[in-house]
């Protein structure tokens, strides 16, 4: 037996928790190992401290807590109307109305509805359809900030494409872009579209 295994059995032996064969194996090891014998003696001392503490603690208060517990049970019963004892099956928990679950379902339905509506052709009267990228019109360039390595960044130009839509007769339709055409926007950000 290794000393580490013997130590484990020594801890158990301190409270008579070894099986008979374990006890036998430990005894044989202790017979031949002085270190473990010394360790076993130390364990006995520690257990004696615990045993002393075991007998130290006594329940001083001899008064039963049942009257207080009973009073609190009665108070709870008066606060909640009691269910008759002869109908124990009726004491099953009632089905509760979970407002949160209903609200969550309603939100999900609204979101699903909005998603479906957005995926449909919005304006049937104008029959607006998005053109392929080949029909995009280059309306100029816009400065773009490109971050430099450890520097403030450099400014370059990048072409700006605006998608063109047509109505049912194939005539181009202006897409309203109020933010880009806002007078408060900086001149570099402002784009004008001429078709």
């Amino acid at each position: 037996m290794k000393c580490s295994d013997a130590r484990h059995l020594i801890h158990l032996a301190a409270g008579d928790d070894n099986l008979p064969d374990e006890e036998q194996a430990l005894a044989e090891h202790l017979h031949s190992c002085a270190d473990c014998r010394s360790y076993s003696a130390g364990m006995t001392d520690a257990m004696q401290v615990l045993q002393k503490f075991r007998h130290d603690t006594t329940v001083v208060d001899e008064v039963s807590i049942w009257p207080d517990v009973e009073r609190r049970i009665r108070e709870r019963r008066t606060a909640r109307p009691a269910v008759p004892a002869e109908a124990p099956d009726r004491r099953q928990p009632k089905r509760q109305f979970h407002g949160g679950v209903v609200a969550l379902c309603a939100c999900s339905l609204v979101l699903a509805f909005i998603t479906i509506v957005q995926s449909l052709p919005v304006n049937d009267a104008m029959n607006v359809q998005m053109l392929s990228p080949d029909f995009r019109v280059n309306v100029g360039t816009v400065p773009r900030l490109q971050p430099g390595a450890g520097q403030a960044g450099s400014v370059s130009s990048a072409p700006v494409f605006v998608p063109v839509m047509t109505d049912s007769a194939g005539r181009p339709v202006m897409i309203p872009q109020p933010l880009q055409q806002s007078p408060s926007a900086r001149p570099a950000d402002r784009q004008t579209h001429s078709f």
Partner: protein, 220 residues
């Protein structure tokens, strides 16, 4: 293996006198099984639950007091444990023993309380009161004024919860390993392993405390 199997009911608590035992048996108090009392309590018979309280209260109180020195708080927690047990009687599995189930409730409640106290203590460190209170040189090291019981309690507090529970139930309260396994809902093999580790941890902590005391005495 020598067995130290103790009945979990209060009737076997060492401090109870033989006369009390005799009276209890005479009145038929101990004759009614826990299972029957539980069954009657579940049907709404509060008196039957009262008998269970009388049967277990001292033992429950003793176990709780192993974890905390405050008698009044231990009483409150014991009451709370029985109230919670009463509220949850419907959830109790009648094929199992009532005792371990009750002690599990009591131990869990006690740990919940200790955790709350510990959290409050951490908050107090950041509160103004924590800063304003100057360290008192006379009581700088609280261990100077502790008796052995208090010292053991402090050393036990250093043992991790899972191991401390096993150590307290087995070595201080005399539960058998199978009873500890039932209370903690772990296998007996796990309990045996934890018990060995818990004893090792306690021994090491106690020896550290011994060395610290020796060094202090040398300085003085």
């Amino acid at each position: 293996m020598a067995t130290r199997l103790l009945n979990m009911t209060d009737s076997n608590v060492e401090s109870r006198s033989e006369d009390e035992e005799h009276d209890a048996c005479e009145s038929g108090f101990s004759a009614v099984s826990d299972a029957r009392l539980v069954d009657e309590a579940r049907r709404g018979n509060t008196d039957s639950f009262g008998q269970l309280v009388l049967r277990y209260e001292r033992r429950v109180l003793r176990v709780i007091r192993r974890f905390m020195p405050d008698d009044q708080m231990a009483q409150d927690l014991a009451q709370e444990a029985f109230l919670r047990a009463f509220d949850r009687l419907e959830q109790f599995d009648p094929s199992r023993r009532f005792g371990p189930w009750l002690f599990r409730i009591a131990v869990n409640l006690t740990y919940d309380h200790l955790r709350r106290v510990r959290r409050r203590g951490r908050w107090a460190l950041f509160s103004e009161a924590g800063y304003e209170r100057p360290p008192d040189p006379a009581t700088d090291d609280p261990r100077q004024h502790l008796d052995t019981s208090q010292e053991v309690r402090m050393v036990l507090a250093d043992v991790p919860e899972a191991y401390r529970t096993v150590l307290i139930l087995r070595d201080l309260e005399g539960f058998s390993t199978s009873e500890v396994a039932a209370v903690t809902e772990r296998s007996e093999a796990t309990i045996r392993w934890r018990l060995a580790e818990a004893r090792r941890m306690f021994r090491e902590a106690w020896e550290r405390r011994d060395r610290a005391m020796e060094e202090r005495q040398k300085r003085e």
